[in-house]
């Protein structure tokens, strides 16, 4: 690997750190496996056959490349509230059109290929919204591996359709009742399963977080989003966007979009966390309202109290409802390369409806947070500037939540 100076794309270092963040904070039982995973990932990365199989599955199974779409009516709608000459063009990377309806499948395809390379015969995963669980169950069905999904009991209740999907795909869904019974607790339970079954089990982590090398490999698998988008932009209009926008739960769709552009100095980037009921109330914005700490194998920004006890996050979007964030984002914030903001439940709900009505696209609640941020930003940018946002999931899974929030009886 050539070590470019002045590059934002060379991390993590050989110990898995992005600046002070990242690392491998796991129990000793898992350490040998984590090291083996890292060695195997290095080999796979340099193996053209692995890359070819990954690319082939993404093209013919997932449906990539996903389209790059100019959202003309949304652009016009936002220009109505902008000053003369203002109102950026809004473009979307349509990862909601992927098989299973979100970007999560990109990562699952990569990780299950790795699992099989390592001779593992059983797959486990955690899920919040159920999107990563569905994507994992999907690739397990595709490759014939048994699959156990840990899901907080609270999330099982609010994401019933996805629970049923996972079961249809042959996965065992285990409701987790410990703690607050949401994503963080599902991840704890996944780790507990893993330490007890290291010999045959591969843990497919669903976001760009966890112990090294997960943040790196999830980012690499998701970078297909940014690589395609960059090439598509150059191809279509022969220029790069001015601003990239993506929602952040753990940060995998965002880092997947951002990473290929990190060394393009004129491309600005905005990550959007979930501000839940508001940053002064319960929320899930770890960068805005948290501080550095250690959880789930990595050092990163966490919602925590003065004793280091982890706080419960809240977001209307189950996929963003996590009190941490991937370590590369923590680093990108600290060095100032990426700007981070947040959108509340209410902002996201409005943006959700706006996209439905202006573009005929029902977005997931996660990217609705990104769209909410765009509503603010577009009017501050000139008409000839370009915002490219990651439409990382579709909203079928969220219609019940949205109906309830809007007071509609289905």
């Amino acid at each position: 690997m050539n070590q470019q100076p002045n590059s934002y794309r060379t991390g993590p270092d050989e110990r898995g750190h992005f600046g002070q963040f990242g690392g491998r904070y796991v129990a000793e039982t898992l350490m040998p496996l984590i090291l083996e995973l890292e060695r195997e990932y290095r080999r796979a990365k340099n193996d053209p056959a692995f890359q070819a199989q990954f690319d082939d599955l993404l093209e013919h199974y997932v449906g990539r490349p996903s389209p790059l779409y100019y959202a003309e009516r949304l652009t016009d709608a936002l220009r109505e509230n902008a000053d003369d000459g203002m109102g950026a063009q809004i473009w979307f990377k349509r990862d909601e059109l992927n098989h299973t309806g979100a970007h999560k499948i990109n990562n699952c395809v990569g990780q299950i290929l790795l699992a099989m390379r390592m001779g593992k015969t059983r797959i486990i995963a955690e899920t919040g919204a159920g999107q990563h669980g569905v994507a994992t169950a999907t690739v397990c069905a595709r490759f014939g591996l048994p699959c156990v999904i840990y899901m907080g009991a609270t999330d099982v209740a609010r994401q019933q359709p996805n629970v049923f999907r996972m079961k249809l795909l042959g996965a065992e869904v285990i409701p987790v009742t410990s703690g607050a019974a949401t994503l963080k607790d599902a991840m704890n339970e996944g780790l507990r399963d893993w330490v007890a079954n290291v010999h045959d089990t591969f843990y497919i982590i669903g976001t760009a977080a966890g112990p090294h090398p997960y943040p790196e490999l999830v980012r690499d698998f998701q970078s297909v989003i940014g690589k395609e988008a960059r090439a598509q932009m150059l191809d279509r209009i022969d220029r790069l966007p001015d601003l990239l926008v993506a929602a952040i739960g753990g940060g995998s769709n965002a880092i997947g979009l951002f990473h290929p552009f990190l060394d393009d100095p004129d491309v600005k980037m905005l990550g959007v966390e979930a501000a839940g009921h508001g940053l002064d109330k319960q929320h899930a914005a770890s960068l805005a309202g948290g501080s550095p700490g250690i959880l789930h194998g990595n050092k990163t920004y966490l919602l925590q109290d003065e004793d280091g006890q982890i706080a419960e996050a809240h977001s209307i979007s189950a996929g963003l409802d996590y009190p941490g964030i991937g370590p590369e984002h923590a680093w990108l914030k600290e060095i100032g390369r990426v700007e981070y903001t947040s959108a509340t439940d209410e902002d996201a709900l409005k943006a959700f409806q706006l996209l439905c009505q202006t573009e005929g696209i029902i977005p997931a609640l996660e990217p609705s947070h990104a769209i909410a941020a765009i509503v603010e930003r577009a009017r501050e940018m000139p008409r000839d500037s370009i915002i490219l946002a990651n439409l990382c999931g579709r909203g079928d899974k969220d219609i019940f939540t949205v109906a309830e929030a809007l007071g509609v009886q289905l």
Binding site: A27, P32, N188, H199, Q309, I310
Partner: protein
């Protein structure tokens, strides 16, 4: 001689007892363990996300945090224990985040000041030692590392580097309170560890009964019992000390006399 040296004297295996701080009347519960014959006390620092623990210790963590236990409370429990029991080694066991929250220096100095002899941190492997190890060693607090069935010969030197007090052998790949490993595999592992270090080797995870404890004590320098004791606190609340002392007495007798039985 450190308190550990005394506790792990060569002619008698040690009983190491674990309780979660702030769960029940911890001072009385700890006194009951000592009265029952515990040689080393492990005091668990409660954490919201105890990833390496099974249901019993998870529940104890939640009970303790539910009562509002803070890090300062845990340190106070330690300090008062030290005042009442000047000779009994005391170990804080827990997860990285509460330990490093105010900086490793703060934690190490507070632990040393409270009379804590050693610290076990579940989720700081040797690879991340700079996060906590140097601060503990500078303050004269032993960093007690865990070795597991997956720590192969290649890793062992790294695990031992910078570790002190005793070596904690986690006898099963898994979480606390669950399965029990076969004696044969434990003996093999302990022999391998003892060939590599002069530190005493204590074996834990899944040890619940005096019989199990005695079996392990025949091949190890110490036996750790946690979930079985923690469950008594959960079951009996304020009446726990009597039950804890009973079980500890049986465990201690089994452990302390195990080698005579074997001979």
């Amino acid at each position: 001689m450190s308190r550990f040296d005394t506790a792990f004297s060569t002619d008698r295996p040690a009983l190491v007892c674990f309780l979660t701080a702030g769960d029940g009347d911890t001072a009385s519960n700890l006194d009951a363990l000592v009265a029952g014959g515990a040689d080393v006390i492990e005091l668990g620092m409660p954490f919201t996300d105890p990833m390496a623990d099974g249901p019993a210790i998870q529940a104890a963590n939640l009970r303790s945090l539910g009562k509002g236990t803070t890090t300062r409370d845990v340190l106070l429990i330690a300090r008062e224990f030290r005042a009442r029991h000047p000779e009994v080694p005391l170990v804080l066991m827990g997860y990285a985040n509460p330990m490093v929250r105010r900086g490793p220096e703060w934690f190490a100095a507070e632990a040393a000041g409270a009379g804590v002899d050693g610290v076990i941190c579940v989720d700081i492997p040797p690879e991340e030692d700079p996060e906590l190890g140097p601060a503990l060693r500078d303050n004269g607090v032993a960093l007690i590392r865990l070795a597991t069935p997956t720590s192969d010969a290649a890793r062992l030197p790294a695990v031992l580097e910078g570790s002190g007090g005793f070596l904690y052998y986690v006898s099963v790949a898994g979480i606390t309170g669950k399965q029990q490993a076969a004696l044969g595999s434990i003996q093999q592992a302990v022999d391998r560890l003892k060939a590599a270090t002069d530190l005493p080797v204590a074996v834990g995870f899944g040890v619940r009964t005096p019989e199990q404890a005695a079996t392990i004590a025949r091949v190890a320098d110490g036996v750790v019992v946690g979930s079985a004791l923690v469950e008594l606190v959960g079951q009996h609340g304020d009446a726990a000390p009597r039950h804890l002392q009973d079980l500890t007495r049986q465990l201690a007798e089994a452990v302390h006399t195990s080698r005579k039985v074997a001979a």
